[in-house]
């Protein structure tokens, strides 16, 4: 089973960087909201990516309290819709002057907002792969590949101080293969999943708290 799993998993390389501009910390009763950046161009952060980070942060021995983004957007409607949401932390004070906004956020004990921006795209693909079926039987022959690049950034805003607390970026790259030798054999790289795990892990460390520093790090998965 382990050999099979290793066989069907492609190699992914990832890099994570962090920039902190303020000290952070989160109490057990405080919450974070993850919001996927949506705009009306041809790209948008996939909902599955923010769901993946949410699942990772809310699991484990030291879970962080999360408020689902749909619930948060409904509670704060119309201030967090794609065209009305604040685009920088500087706009938070204006937003908090709107009637009811500060009360609603304090009531829900939301300490941080994390805006997740980015997507996974195919940057290269090639090869030839085909499957045929006939009354005499069928099969797949050939080989194709596609290389994906997952690039995401989390901007963390502190809603107590109404300032930006820092940014974390995660980049992952991997090539998947589909080989056909009668049966199709997929060898899948999942850079989106690798970026999610790396970003969630770094975000957890970031929120738990640290001194003001600026730095970066890189790693292979």
């Amino acid at each position: 089973m382990l050999m099979m799993a290793a066989l069907v998993s492609g190699c992914v390389s990832s890099r994570i960087e962090q920039s902190r501009t303020a000290t952070t910390g989160i109490e057990t009763d405080e919450a974070i909201v993850l919001l996927g950046r949506a705009s009306y161009n041809d790209r948008q952060t996939e909902e599955s990516f923010t769901d993946c980070i949410a699942d990772t942060l809310s699991a484990g021995d030291d879970p962080i309290r999360l408020i689902p983004q749909d619930e948060f957007k409904d509670e704060l409607y119309p201030w967090f819709e794609p065209r009305t949401a604040p685009t920088s932390a500087d706009e938070l004070s204006t937003l908090f002057d709107q009637p009811g906004v500060r009360d609603r956020i304090e009531e829900a004990q939301v300490r941080y907002l994390a805006w997740i921006d980015g997507d996974t795209i195919i940057i290269d693909q090639g090869g030839s792969f085909s499957c045929t079926i006939s009354s005499f039987g069928g099969g797949c022959f050939g080989m194709s590949y596609w290389e994906e690049d997952a690039s995401y950034e989390a901007s963390i805003w502190d809603l107590h101080n109404l300032t930006a607390a820092g940014e974390i970026s995660a980049d992952a790259n991997g090539t998947s293969y589909l080989a056909g030798l009668i049966l199709p054999i997929p060898i899948m790289a999942r850079p989106g999943n690798a970026a999610c795990k790396a970003l969630a892990s770094q975000l957890r460390e970031f929120l738990v708290g640290d001194v003001v520093t600026t730095g970066d790090g890189a790693g292979e998965i």
Partner: protein, 216 residues
């Protein structure tokens, strides 16, 4: 022979494909300051039961029913935006029935459109709704009308086209509502009208005070 029959069945079922979408979702209550005015709301029969039908070549026909969701959304939106609301049967009310209100709001859907991934070449279904919102004062004079466009888009998989179109349309209603909730109170004509409503209220209040004082 069996394979051929299956293929023919598959082709027939695909060519006659109709995608029916019933738009349903949450109805958030806008967190905005209420305007100090009492308004009548006129929802036309077209607005109440808005339904879009379109046939895309080689893709089949689409039926998008958003009437009930749109109506519920606007009722809630207006209730949150104004001091009080009441639904009326006509956009222009005779003066004897226009008591207790300061104006009438008439929302309309001018146009609805959507794009599928096959048409746009993107991974999204997108929808747009062109709304027109007219405001009449209590005498039936048009204070102004404003056209706003709500946009929405949703990720669409191969087998979840109707879900994605439903989500995109729902987001377009929300987006249009957000623009109305935020922009309408800032329109100069609305600001002037609110001032007139306040002035009229002050005059009627001061006129009533001596009479009440005289009776007591």
């Amino acid at each position: 022979m069996k394979t051929n029959s299956l293929c023919i069945l598959l082709v027939l079922s695909l060519s006659g494909c109709t995608t029916s979408v019933m738009v349903e979702g949450t109805v958030p209550t806008p967190l905005v300051a209420k305007m100090p005015a009492r308004v009548g709301l006129y929802f036309s029969p077209d607005f109440k039961s808005f339904r879009h039908e379109e046939t895309i070549e080689q893709r089949g026909s689409y039926q998008v029913d958003m009437g009930q969701q749109n109506l519920t959304f606007f009722r809630n939106l207006m209730k949150a935006m104004f001091e009080s609301t009441v639904e009326v049967d006509e956009p222009l009310l005779p003066s004897e029935t226009a008591t207790g209100i300061d104006g009438v709001i008439v929302p309309e859907i001018l146009k609805y459109g959507f794009l599928t991934p096959a048409v746009s070449g993107l991974n999204f279904y997108s929808a747009s709704i062109h709304y027109r919102v007219a405001l009449f004062d209590v005498a039936g004079n048009k204070v102004g009308d404003w056209t706003l466009v709500g946009y929405g888009k949703a990720e669409g998989g191969v087998f979840s086209g109707s879900d994605a179109l439903r989500e995109a349309t729902l987001l377009a209603i929300r987006d249009g509502g957000a623009r109305i909730a935020i922009d309408l109170p800032l329109e100069p004509a609305v600001v002037d009208w609110l001032q007139q409503v306040e002035d009229a209220s002050a005059v009627s209040g001061s006129a009533a005070t001596p009479a009440e004082g005289g009776e007591s």
